[in-house]
Symmetry: C2
Subunit: 340 residues, 2 copies
């Protein structure tokens, strides 16, 4: 299994670390090595068909700020110059155009390569187009880490709950908002809580993407398209963020033994992000930066999963789970890959 | 796929209902029908190689109290008189001897049949023996519903978290205890809460199995053996129930923003059921009859899953998920089955 990584920020570096940690795992499970044959960041690349050392990639990035040894103009030309089986696309999210990630994913799928991504931009904007290209070219296209980081919501629905009819999913899909709302439960004002989130590195200097609900909306789109087989994009989501939640509203909720949480909900006909009242002790009343998603099914009832919604190793672990799933499938089908 | 059901109480009947609901699902997914060729309860059986109607089984059980039309002396002789592929063992749990369930499972595996069970007795007493028989005879042996009802904790660990190193699992594994402790959070005494649990049908007239922690301990054994590959049984678990938890202890916990929950915990070297302090807002601080389990992993961090721990359809849904998993595997391997 030969991997091309595009993007070598936090998640890309986390994945390189996971490759080091799981070297023996792949050998034992599949009797073959997983090698990185090319790594690209926004301005440089490096490739070697005999395999690059993840340690060296990490070291060079740390020391020079670049993963590669050479510059490039066109990422597509770099991709075409390498023989690889699977693209791991972890370049920065661009929710307006899809950015380089969209181009890279499209090109890899059109070239018959499997793709794993955690990049929400291409998924929220062009999900159905990308799935169609993957189908046409008989490629696998996986994106577990794009929703909820380490929380395996997509694989849970696809694997463990495969016999269920899923009515809806509602979840806490943005850890920054949940951190802010948890702090407000403890008496902080919205402004204080946001400032603390920024100091902790959970929220960015411009926090709009989180607190206005845009990030949650991207994840709603991804789940709606992948789990409910809908054909929707970002602009279809009804979005209300958390910026107008007052301390008084939090107190009033608390007096009824409730908390306020930013909930993304999707079903066959719903597509919404909005603050909701959640009873204390409910699986979606969790505090801190965790993500959680409740899947409402016909037989099993509501099943809730939670986990760390972000983080270098946590998001890389979701890529690992997609990689294992693709490699399991190749093994079972005698090397032939099957589409999504 | 020809199924023999042994046990036709709540869960057996729930499974028959699921067979009716999922008739088309199986046809579409596998191009073959799943038929029940024999159903047994404690005193009667009925068999038909061309398939029994689940509706008729349910009707007869309701009207006569018996699933079958004939009596029997020896269940093994009934099993040997039928051609079947898979045993679904859902007879009553006997935690002292394993009861009829243990004999039935052993005999089916020795005859080369796949087995799905939710019967905790055989699993808590003879797990490793049964796994060894399954391996030797190249049979699949699944038991998702034995821990946490609808909550897919075993399949989560085996499928979505397969690339993770799992350090420990701790969970709320008994919904009755969680109901009682939740009621105590709201100011009820232990006695009041237990009485209400009995009135609601959550606790039995003799509630020892739940409130002394024995039921949780069975599930700890099953998870320890199946997820951590240990070789332990019921008597190895350190068990403390909830009978000595006072309202004062609950209040003291609440004053520190904590709740008390009965937690089962297992790891490579731990095997324990005991009341624990859990911070409010933690994924294991949930209220009511839900079950929850937190899997602590090296890369993904803590992943928590929760769901209904009991119930006719909910437990049957876990059997369905095992059945789908076995049938998927048969399909992928061209009809050949692979052991656990």
């Amino acid at each position: 299994m030969r991997i091309l990584i595009s993007g070598f920020g936090t998640v890309g570096q986390g994945f390189a670390e996971v490759m080091i940690l799981r070297k023996d795992f792949f050998k034992e499970r599949y009797g073959e090595e997983v090698t990185i044959v090319c790594a690209m960041d926004s301005s440089s690349y490096v490739s070697d068909q005999s395999g690059l050392s993840p340690n060296e990639l990490l070291k060079r990035k740390l020391e020079t700020g670049k993963v590669g040894t050479q510059g490039y103009q066109d990422p597509v030309k770099v991709m075409d110059s390498v023989e690889y089986d699977l693209l791991i696309e972890v370049s920065p999210t661009d929710i307006k155009t899809g950015g380089a990630g969209l181009k890279n994913i499209r090109h890899a799928l059109e070239s018959g390569k499997d793709v794993i991504t955690v990049n929400k931009g291409p998924l929220a904007l062009k999900f159905c187009e990308l799935i169609a290209i993957a189908r046409k070219n008989n490629c696998k296209f996986r994106f577990e880490g794009s929703v909820g980081g380490a929380m395996p919501i997509i694989n849970l629905c696809r694997e463990s709950l495969v016999g269920e009819n899923i009515y809806s999913i509602r979840g806490i899909l943005n850890g920054t908002c949940n951190f802010i709302l948890s702090k407000m439960d403890n008496g902080q004002s919205f402004e204080q809580a946001l400032k603390e989130a920024q100091q902790m590195g959970y929220a960015e200097a411009d926090p709009a993407n989180d607190i206005e609900g845009y990030d949650s909306a991207c994840k709603v789109v991804i789940l709606a398209n992948s789990i409910f087989k809908r054909n929707v994009s970002f602009s279809d989501v009804s979005i209300t963020g958390i910026t107008s939640i007052t301390s008084e509203a939090i107190s009033l909720a608390a007096s009824h033994n409730m908390v306020i949480r930013l909930i993304g909900e999707m079903s066959g006909d719903k597509l919404e992000v909005a603050p909701r009242l959640v009873p204390k002790g409910h699986p979606l009343s969790i505090t801190g930066t965790l993500n959680a998603a409740q899947v409402v099914t016909d037989l099993a009832g509501p099943i809730t999963i939670s986990g760390k919604g972000a983080g270098r190793t946590e998001t890389a672990s979701a890529i690992l789970s997609d990689l294992v799933s693709i490699m399991d499938d190749r093994k079972e089908r005698g090397g032939k890959c099957q589409n999504l």
